[in-house]
Symmetry: C2
Subunit: 347 residues, 2 copies
DNA sequence: CCTTAGCACTCCGTCCTTGGGAGTGCTAGC
DNA sequence: GCTAGCACTCCCAAGGACGGAGTGCTAAGG
């Protein structure tokens, strides 16, 4: 990766090619470019420049004597150096605001899902939202329900109102009355503890003398520990209206579409990509082969963290073909993250 | 719909055409048919019969001088009269059993999802499962959690271990302690009441003198009522691995596929189709235009109820192109329903 | 040295034609 | 009522011609 800086005119032409190709999805030729973008030079000159840009790896021809299209590297340069100032048409702002505000008063899950959907609709791509990470979630309440002797349903509620539940084997538990006591004990013990610290807290409590002698308390801790165990994968991913992607011509091909949809099913993949945006500042753009997942050849992801600046909670973003209007999508994702952050603040 | 009965030979030919077309997805011609199915008559005779069958509406030609394919009516006759005895290859039985047994010990949701998935995989179509209807679900436990003053999270658990939750506005509620009392009260009141009867029970209790004078109890009932309200749509639908449908050549066309996927998103549509199978006895087969939803032109649904015979709980089925191996799929759906019923019994 | 006009060339996509294959319907004979 | 034979229809794949869009190169001009 040599960090090239293009001369002004060359950059302008690269920018024009990207803009044009994003718009039309057809290879762009010199003549057309000059006309549409009022470049004050002749097509022949543009051709020379294009040949240079191709040599540098920013453009390529799908076949000889066709127009040029941007390579991943071309898009990269465009994103890094040529983006117009971030401005979002007020119509889109409004739609985003409305979509997120409408779900605002509801539970967290609804809010996140609504956000992913409205992102999809406004961007004409597919919106993604990762639920707040386990680290920022705080224990609020636990409830134990005896389904039948030896089998207990553990319900866990976080401060933001997210409900987790899981069935746990507990052969020694026989009555709901026992569970009631355990519930009270656990609730008292864990009130306000961050979920990540719950296990630790429980282990510490195990040392407590009182616990050593009380079978019930020991069991309660055991249950509590099992309840939070294995929940590390906490990052639920919401995929909004995946069918939107069919609006993009590159996915008229069934095989391509299928690959992408398979990625959608494997939430782990999406999580991996979006997670990088949680830590990093600003909006992250992964273009085509830049992103680590082979199945997502030809796709780009624009993502950013949401939450307070000093304390990112999760990430959201948009996935679509590499041929995407980066300026617009970046502004969109940025704004959506701000709105979602605000909504969570209120929640 | 005139209820025609075909003469033996005609019926056999219709059956052969259906079998062959299901297998190859190509219009089938007379010559080929004779050879492959060892009909002891000449192609010319077969042609005559086919012409008759076409006139009766069982077959049609996509264009002159092409082979024949079954019409919806043709499939209907096949399903009603020509199905080979229901027998399921032991390999498929095993795969079904395994898929369902594996999820058996888990919570209900997991079980239902696993069932829809294994149906998809074994049938090479898309499996559908409707969660047990609200009528057969029984109240087990309720829990109220104060998220912040005036806003309460209501968690509802049914006997089978299904967890519902919802955020409810309750401006007067200010402390968790109040909620604790309400919780106990509601749990005592509703233990073992079928969900459909909960609201009724609550209304009856409202008349109770004790309640008239106790603000807390009134509020508790209010909350309980809101918690079950609007939950009529209880039938959650699980769609198993929709991408499987791409294995069928008819869905290589993006537009067709898109329509179907849109139907998958609108769970209401699927619910409507499957719900008919809950009441009806045996396996229901809706072929192409027979099913009430226009978007599902060209698709068939094979569905049946699961649960105890005298008390159906929900429905499951398979959706795919009209060109599907009905005999096999019917046997599959039947067996899956039995397995799921048994699994629920144990749960 | 950079720019540009001109020109020959390349490649794609479309349209048309052609020929073979699969299948039918009809007729006449058994 | 069944069947062999035959003429006919239609699709589909392959081949060829052609126009369009675009390029690269060369040579001339600033």
């Amino acid at each position: 990766m040599t960090e090239t800086t293009l001369r002004d005119r060359d950059a302008r032409i690269l920018g024009a090619v990207v803009d044009e190709f994003v718009q039309t999805a057809e290879p762009v030729g010199s003549r057309n470019l000059v006309k549409k973008y009022r470049l004050e030079i002749s097509p022949a000159t543009v051709r020379n420049v294009m040949a240079d840009l191709e040599e540098m790896g920013f453009l390529y021809q799908p076949h000889t004597s066709a127009g040029r299209q941007p390579t991943d590297q071309g898009y990269r340069y465009y994103v890094d150096h040529l983006l117009p100032g971030p401005s979002l048409p007020s119509g889109q702002r409004r739609r985003l605001r409305q979509g997120i505000r409408d779900a605002d008063l509801d539970a967290l899950e609804t809010l996140l899902e609504a956000t992913s959907r409205v992102l999809s609709r406004v961007a004409h791509q597919v919106g993604l939202v990762v639920a707040p990470r386990i680290e920022v979630r705080v224990f609020r309440h636990v409830d134990l329900v005896l389904l039948r002797p030896g089998r207990v349903l553990v319900i866990l509620v976080t401060r933001s109102g997210v409900v987790h539940h899981r069935v746990v084997e507990a052969p020694e538990v026989r009555s709901q009355a026992e569970l009631e006591k355990m519930t009270n004990y656990l609730n008292g013990l864990l009130e306000g503890v961050p979920l990540v610290a719950v296990r630790e807290r429980i282990l510490a409590e195990m040392e407590n003398e009182r616990v050593q002698y009380d079978r019930l308390l020991r069991q309660a801790l055991e249950l509590g520990s099992q309840a939070v165990g294995g929940d590390e994968g906490g990052g639920q991913v919401y995929v909004g209206e995946p069918l939107r992607i069919l609006e993009q011509p590159e996915f008229q091909d069934v095989e391509k579409m299928r690959q992408l949809f398979e990625a959608f099913e494997r939430k782990g993949i999406l999580l991996r990509i979006l997670d990088r945006a949680v830590e990093a500042p600003g909006v992250q753009v992964s273009i085509g082969t830049e992103n680590p997942v082979a199945d997502l050849q030809g796709c780009s992801v624009v993502a950013t963290a949401y939450g307070r600046d000093d304390r990112p909670m999760g990430a959201l973003g948009v996935i679509g073909p590499t041929r995407m209007p980066y300026g617009e999508v970046i502004a969109l994702v940025e704004y959506a993250a701000r709105l979602l952050g605000q909504a969570l603040e209120r929640l």
